[in-house]
């Protein structure tokens, strides 16, 4: 009874604002409930460039982050378990440093020679992706680390070695396929963060989705709600994919231990 009540209150806490936002997004046309706000949003010439730029940034961030985090987490699990607390601490730093502090630090550091990276839009974009990679560490490292802990990394590695496999084969044919849910989960969390990130992109004068949304709220009434619903749908689609792929894989790993 009490737990049911708590569930109801929590559900309302989430669902009422969401429902209200969705309802507001349908009121783009006077006295009619419809998808006018969505139509206007997608028709806006600034929306798709911002959206595609954010997606490209997100994909680049994911690739770079995977390239750094997976070998690090694998090596820490396999050979340097004593370093785990240090690596965990480093990956948690983005949680400790506020985004506003981070962005001003970056601008100060990279606005003068020899590391002048804010001179052009494209070099700033590269810098932004590097910052996003650092921001993704807490999510990516934790996801990958959990995935590696779920399998017997050491024994699988040794089994593959005894069969003649080199490090590349071990990583790509044995380890990656068995932690693909973890990789996907880290990737999609990173995707969700990069897609909605505002502070750093705004101060680095990037035309991504975050600044676009902030700008939208200043000039439009219904489109920001439509944009919020679209962003929410993307995030939930990402979570749904993680859950769907994770179901079969966890069963497979649990039964071979």
């Amino acid at each position: 009874m009490v737990s049911g009540l708590i569930f109801l209150v929590i559900s309302l806490y989430f669902l009422v604002p969401l429902g209200a936002t969705f309802y507001w997004s349908l009121r783009g046309e006077k006295d009619v409930l419809g998808l006018e706000a969505y139509r206007k949003l997608f028709a806006d010439t600034n929306f798709l460039p911002a959206f595609s730029e954010s997606i490209i940034n997100a994909v680049a961030t994911i690739l770079l982050s995977l390239l750094i985090v997976v070998p690090t987490a694998y090596w820490v699990t396999l050979r340097l378990p004593k370093l785990r607390p240090i690596v965990e601490f480093i990956t948690l730093l983005p949680f400790v440093i506020p985004a506003i502090v981070l962005v001003f630090g970056i601008i100060r550091l990279y606005s003068r020679p020899p590391l002048l990276l804010t001179a052009t839009y494209d070099s700033s974009r590269v810098l932004l992706i590097c910052v996003y990679v650092a921001l993704s560490f807490p999510y990516m490292f934790r996801s990958v680390d959990n995935g590696l802990r779920a399998i017997d990394v050491r024994t699988l590695t040794e089994a593959a070695q005894s069969l003649g496999a080199n490090w590349g084969t071990i990583l790509f044919r044995v380890i990656f396929p068995n932690i693909r849910v973890a990789l996907l989960s880290g990737a999609l969390l990173t995707f969700a963060i990069v897609i909605g990130e505002l502070t750093i992109a705004l101060y680095m004068a990037q035309h991504t989705l975050g600044p676009y949304m902030a700008n939208l709220t200043r000039s439009k009434v219904y489109e920001p709600s439509a944009m919020a619903i679209v962003a929410f749908a993307i995030t939930w689609a990402a979570m749904g994919i993680i859950d769907f792929i994770g179901r079969g894989s966890s069963k497979r790993i649990a039964n071979t231990e």
Partner: protein, 353 residues
């Protein structure tokens, strides 16, 4: 020249010496077991042969080639792990074919070899299943097939039966031995289970705290243990404090009761403190058969163990276990009754105290 030679191999982790001056020559086709308690260095020695650990000193030669410092993927050794270590993302056939694919064998060769191996382990119907769809015993058989598929020069088995239940363990160990004999492959088997080692091996290396205690056939290890550790570790053993009475005639005294031993008093002198050790199955009632040692005993306890009945007797002030085969017509003495117990002089082992 031995096929596999482990010479003066020592392994240290920091200050701790885990394996100390290990020396062993293994002939081609031989099945050797490393037997010992946890932490005795048996797995570390095996891992040095596999290449997962590099010896601090010493040399490992395989078929005339020095493999001491070779990477694991450059040695042609097959390894079987306690936890099966099958790749969860691959089917049985893909697991078995993995090593051949790594070696870039032609697809037709891989297919043929996988079929051979699947047939060898009698899992033809399961070739397309994933490891999670198999029982523990089946998974370990796949692991065996995967290790054998690459035609390894040596097969290394690291406690492969420990995770299985008793019945599967017994049937699988027979299967492993039969396959090893059929293929004539050289094998090293690590176990802490003496029954496993005794039943499967050509030779056993008993290890303790990084040191080889004794190397011998199962028969030698069980019947003629050279050290007190081996005597205690392999099989059940009654031990008691004793004193040498007549070294020339192998006489020792325990609580005033004299025992004659066939060996073990050489080099000792009268009055030396020793331990005598007698296996439970070597003791019997004197009425059954007359042997060198006939001593008075009191029946303390009788335990039915299925195929064996264990009778606890008190000789002097020391309790001994005596095992006798069960049969439906076995007449057992009453508890507390006085009986005479006997054993041959070969059954009495004299060990250092």
């Amino acid at each position: 020249m031995p096929y596999l030679s482990i010479s003066h191999v020592t392994k240290q982790f920091g200050d701790a010496v885990v394996v100390d001056d290990f020396n062993l020559d293994i002939e081609k086709g031989e099945f050797v077991s490393f037997l010992g308690p946890s932490g005795c260095g048996k797995t570390t020695t095996l891992r040095m042969v596999a290449g997962f650990e590099i010896p601090t000193s010493g040399k490992i030669m395989l078929d005339g080639a020095d493999i001491t410092d070779k990477a694991p993927n450059q040695r042609n050794v097959g390894m079987i792990f306690q936890s099966y270590a099958l790749f969860p993302n691959m089917t049985v056939a893909q697991n078995i074919g993995f090593g051949l694919r790594v070696r870039k064998e032609p697809e037709a060769t891989i297919k043929q070899r996988v079929e051979e191996m699947v047939s060898l382990i009698n899992l033809e119907k399961h070739a397309n299943k994933y490891p999670y769809q198999l029982s523990g015993g089946q998974q370990q058989r796949v692991s065996l097939a995967r290790a054998l598929a690459i035609h390894p020069q040596v097969l290394l088995l690291d406690e492969p039966l420990s995770a299985l239940d008793a019945k599967i363990r017994i049937s699988l160990r027979s299967e492993i031995r039969a396959i090893q004999k059929k293929l004539g492959i050289t094998a090293i088997f690590v176990t802490h289970d003496q029954e496993e080692a005794l039943s499967i091996s050509d030779r056993i290396v008993v290890m303790n705290t990084g040191v080889m205690e004794q190397v011998g056939t199962p028969f030698e290890i069980y019947n003629f243990p050279k050290t007190r550790f081996v005597a205690n570790f392999v099989g059940s053993l009654n031990t008691a404090d004793a004193e040498v009475v007549d070294p020339a005639n192998g006489l020792v005294s325990m609580d005033g009761v004299q025992f004659e031993s066939a060996e073990g008093t050489e080099g000792r002198k009268k009055g030396d403190k020793v331990k005598i050790a007698i296996r439970p199955e070597r003791l019997s009632f004197a009425a059954d058969q007359k042997k060198a040692n006939v001593v008075d005993a009191t029946i303390e306890n009788i335990t039915f163990l299925g195929s064996v009945v264990r009778i606890q007797v008190k000789i002097g002030n020391t309790k001994f276990n005596m095992d006798t085969f069960n049969n439906p017509f076995l007449e057992l003495p009453a508890l507390g009754s006085k009986e005479q117990v006997t054993c041959s002089k070969e059954a009495v082992l004299v060990l250092d105290e």
